[in-house]
Amino acid sequence: MSISIEEIKKPENIVYRRPALLTDNVMHYCPGCSHGTVHKLVAEVIEEMGIQDRTIGISPVGCSVFAYNYIDIDWEEAAHGRAPALATATKRLCPDKYVFTYQGDGDLASIGTAEIIHACSRGENIVVIFINNGIYGMTGGQMAPTTLIGMKTSTTPYGRDPKLNGFPLVIADMISHLDGTAYITRQSVHTAVAARKAKSAIRKAFEYSAKGIGLSFVEIVSTCNSGWKMTPVEANKWMVENMFAKYPIGDIKDVLK
């Protein structure tokens, strides 16, 4: 049976479309940036759970500072690293809301370590989406706490040397030892399979945050192709070959399992 492309492209045959919760704004991210994919997954989860009017997002300082331009929910934009503090008060004062922070590795793992550790330790019933691409994107590709040993950045031009710069900080593993965390997982979005798993993880995190059992943390190992100075496709390959060794994909903690 032969069917033309025009016949296939009918509204009733749509199986995947841009989520309605994403605004029409063109994202400011570089071509191929993981942020856009994660934004989409978060938007899909909120849309599918039907919680747009009960969700408050908190954006960080870094590339995703403008997350509020893309997902059609109420937002608070935090000072650098402080998103978990905003989320703590927001959730405690509005316990019927779903509250999530969206933070990069500079924001969460460097300047904001105190805030994330203590939000985890207190068992705040919030969701944290953590984008780990091993570099500072917004400021132009400097070393992050998560930068791999040997990785070149604008402030480690000869590669990260542990004698000079210390070692990569593996936040998800660290917080898994805190009693206040309920669900910790590490995902990626470089393939469709990975993105679908990441979406399930984000949905689980949102669902857990309504159960009053503690903080849910979804790390997305991501690329920064501009900062890494690669094409988006090369960056995905490099991530699989290098980042996954230090930041392996999979669930780290699930108190309901």
Partner: protein, 360 residues
Amino acid sequence: MAEKILMKGNEAIAISAIRNGVDGYFGYPITPQSEVMETLMKEKPWETTGMVVLQAESETSSINMLYGGASCGKKVMTSSSSPGVSLMCEGISYIAGAELPCVVVDVMRGGPGLGTIQPSQSDYNQIVKGGGHGDYHNIVIAPASAQDMYDFVDWGFELAFKYRNPVVVLADGIIGQMMEKVEMHPMKPRRTAEEILRDAPWAVTGKPASRERHIITSLSLDADIQEQFNIKLKEKYAMIEANEVRFSEYMTGDAEYIFVAFGCSSRICEAVVDELRAEGIKAGLLRPITLYPFPSGEIARLAAQAKSMMSIELNLGQMVHDVRLAVNGACPVGFYGRQGGNIYTPEEIVAEFKKFNGLA
């Protein structure tokens, strides 16, 4: 008759927060204000009014918890002392930039650095001139009694919500630690969700399909948009300066010599005025109750009738610069201060006054 209870200024802050329907307190221990959070924890308001009380991991976190809570249109406050307030200044700038209401209580101690835990008024510059980065003002109100501590919480929130601006209650270790009778006013309930929508229609409350999303941010990369915002803030500050100046005067009617003092210093200066009057010297006192907006107009008016003015402060001379600006050369302006937690006696101030005015 309203109930009167003997309590510390710091305790009055805590009790007032509960009785005035505050939604959340977020703080970090530091001397000499730790009784605020201790009192709240002892009172357990979450079981009565539903008020949230949380001990944060740092002052940096506390102020950012205020940012989060205020974003939701809630009445949120914190208290700290000088070094802790330094840490909060980043957050206060963001709160001013995002135009959020909140109340910060600074029970001042001596500095710089770790300084001393004794009383001081040396955060005048930090708080009245901003403290954080960027063009902004805190509204600053200066209590001089435990009763003021009680009353200024509610007044602070009234101003904070009226102008969507941080309000700092600039107290000091004396006012915080001193015990006085405090008159309780009738309880005010916390605001309902409907009242929050009415009083804070800009708040982040979860976006229904019927309205645009609310975004609380202090960021605008476009130079023209940022400049327009700065101009809008300036207009707001002009309104505050026009409408909210508050001061009190003591024996200024026929005064030839005017003292200017705020907070605990104004209490001491009342005794100074009494002593000088007993000697036949026509002295008077102006106490700025709002430090921003500053009562410049009233100071200028008094300067026209005065032979001299003296600013009396527990620091090296901070408010005196604003007094000089207001006086604008109309009469000589003197200063006397003590530092490091030392407090002047009225006799000491009388002697300094006579030296400055050539009356010794």
